[in-house]
Subunit: 137 residues, 6 copies
Amino acid sequence: MLLTRKAEFSASHVCANPALDDAENRRIYGAASNPNGHGHNYVVEVTVEGDADPVTGMVFDLRELKEILNREVIEPMDHRFLNREVAPFDRVVPTTENLAMEIWRRLRPAIERDHARLKNVRLYETADLFVDYGGER
Amino acid sequence: MLLTRKAEFSASHVCANPALDDAENRRIYGAASNPNGHGHNYVVEVTVEGDADPVTGMVFDLRELKEILNREVIEPMDHRFLNREVAPFDRVVPTTENLAMEIWRRLRPAIERDHARLKNVRLYETADLFVDYGGER
Amino acid sequence: MLLTRKAEFSASHVCANPALDDAENRRIYGAASNPNGHGHNYVVEVTVEGDADPVTGMVFDLRELKEILNREVIEPMDHRFLNREVAPFDRVVPTTENLAMEIWRRLRPAIERDHARLKNVRLYETADLFVDYGGER
Amino acid sequence: MLLTRKAEFSASHVCANPALDDAENRRIYGAASNPNGHGHNYVVEVTVEGDADPVTGMVFDLRELKEILNREVIEPMDHRFLNREVAPFDRVVPTTENLAMEIWRRLRPAIERDHARLKNVRLYETADLFVDYGGER
Amino acid sequence: MLLTRKAEFSASHVCANPALDDAENRRIYGAASNPNGHGHNYVVEVTVEGDADPVTGMVFDLRELKEILNREVIEPMDHRFLNREVAPFDRVVPTTENLAMEIWRRLRPAIERDHARLKNVRLYETADLFVDYGGER
Amino acid sequence: MLLTRKAEFSASHVCANPALDDAENRRIYGAASNPNGHGHNYVVEVTVEGDADPVTGMVFDLRELKEILNREVIEPMDHRFLNREVAPFDRVVPTTENLAMEIWRRLRPAIERDHARLKNVRLYETADLFVDYGGER
């Protein structure tokens, strides 16, 4: 059984690798490498795997899941410039892929327990583009 | 090859385990334990797995799939108070998890045949919360 | 200039006029007259009309608008059985039309001030059905 | 007859009036006043009013409308930090209201002609918040 | 008070005026003039204006509105090639504009009565393009 | 890590197997067998599997993925009557299942390389019906 909760945050970012020069970043990321940054309404879907508890009928407490999402992802990232204000994006390019992995790393210790595993993080950058990350296998 | 069909029904429910007292139910389910009930526009996505038939090019007859969904899920659950009118929710808490499992149990015998297996039931309680159930493994 | 904010609440209701008998209610409202009730994820869109303030560039303070919506509509109606728990629906049929008018009555005194008028309340009962109410003209 | 075309762009902005101090901007705009900026996937809906041409059956040439939208709005604003790169937002607070008015000003001369009037600009900052601007009356 | 109901139908069409030659049609309509046709999932939103009836609390009987929509629009147009099978599109170009006007003409006599007026027909050709038609003024 | 990109095209089709007679096609496909054809706004989601590149932080170049989708799927299929203009649908029934498999066949050689595999093609015929194809296993 999988339980998925969706949340949204608005942030800005620059897609540029600080180890590369401007021309190279422009070649790789196009307009997304504009150093002033641009932004998105990111939508994150967090999927927890587990069995429904025989007493409560729930895989995970919904309010606790919402609190974890708020504390670990929404509060530190909402209304932020990721490259300047959210580690490790001062040195890691905040592509959708890297951002999904960072959300995974932040959520996993807060969610995983005897009966529940973090199964997937889906991150939409726009309605037409999203990534899924399920951890190292 | 997976084929998925979506349908919607409007129902009400109370999240409370009759074996527990009111205070305990309130602690577990919060406002959802209000004994008068509250409601949702549930969205169900039924996924059938099979090969496309070489003659028809279809995994499953679409009109039959719609009829099965209507007969097994929409008609008995739409415009109903689940705890009072739809078994087994007189004794099982109708969380999204338990409701998805019940939909699975109702659909599976009607859908599964030589070439087709019920693969997944996804049930949205709201746009921001859904579960996936794929049966016992 | 119009500013619109959207919010959602989950409630249940019965469409039946207490002044009519069961057969008549059944004839008028169909399955929606089921006395046990059924539910919806209602989506409400509140539209405020005004000029953008020359200093703030805003028609209305967004956080205050959210607080008003929460206090006047979401908190009293979310997770409720409208006919039993939310006045005046103990005596008024909670059709989408009547519910939109009640939301209008609750919001108007909290929103209207020198520079801002409540322009419209749109209420979705499902994705396929909604009403707009703009007050008595 | 109204014809509406939708487009999307991703930009970042800071909600702060340069004439006010930081504390005052923080009080008015909250987290949106973060000077590093944050971003959105803005969705713009442009509505043109006119009669369907008796020969073509169209209110406005759809491809030309798309080109105008791209040239006047999407290209100059997509992947930009509005306050730093798009006039007049170096001195005007880029609230959704002010941004909708600027889009109106840019589109109007390109769209209006004998048979067509710009009727409305709707701008979504998020799925839950949008403004409509129809010009000075 | 406005009541809006949404419905969907899948049809194909060619955008070409039979009074013009192929090159001219290609110039005006581009790829949409391909004589083999192409198709859309059209979404139609029908808006009825009236007061909520004091007894029923409804502007219009919802099931009757659905039946009218089905009978006048969905059944004759769904799964059809508009130019060949739905009058007057054998001689009128089925642009979104002309199709919305034809839907208006078909719905108006069935909907209008003492207390109810057809207020608007909105027709989406795609999610990014729609027209609104409210009749001759 | 999975990366998914969405695109849309408008096409028409007839669901009928040329090896069967009209009555048989009508029995199998219903209204979808209308020989004049009908249409859809198809939505395709292409999922690529790979590791995020340590330098670019990307699974696949987003602009190249968009170009591949345009070149292999959108350009040859958009505004087309599939049965008449897009091989192999002159002899293969263009059900959603068969269309998803054809899209898979067209995309795979263009996408697969050392570090990237085509993982899934999801094709929506309408908002309520879609198929997923992941290739022969």
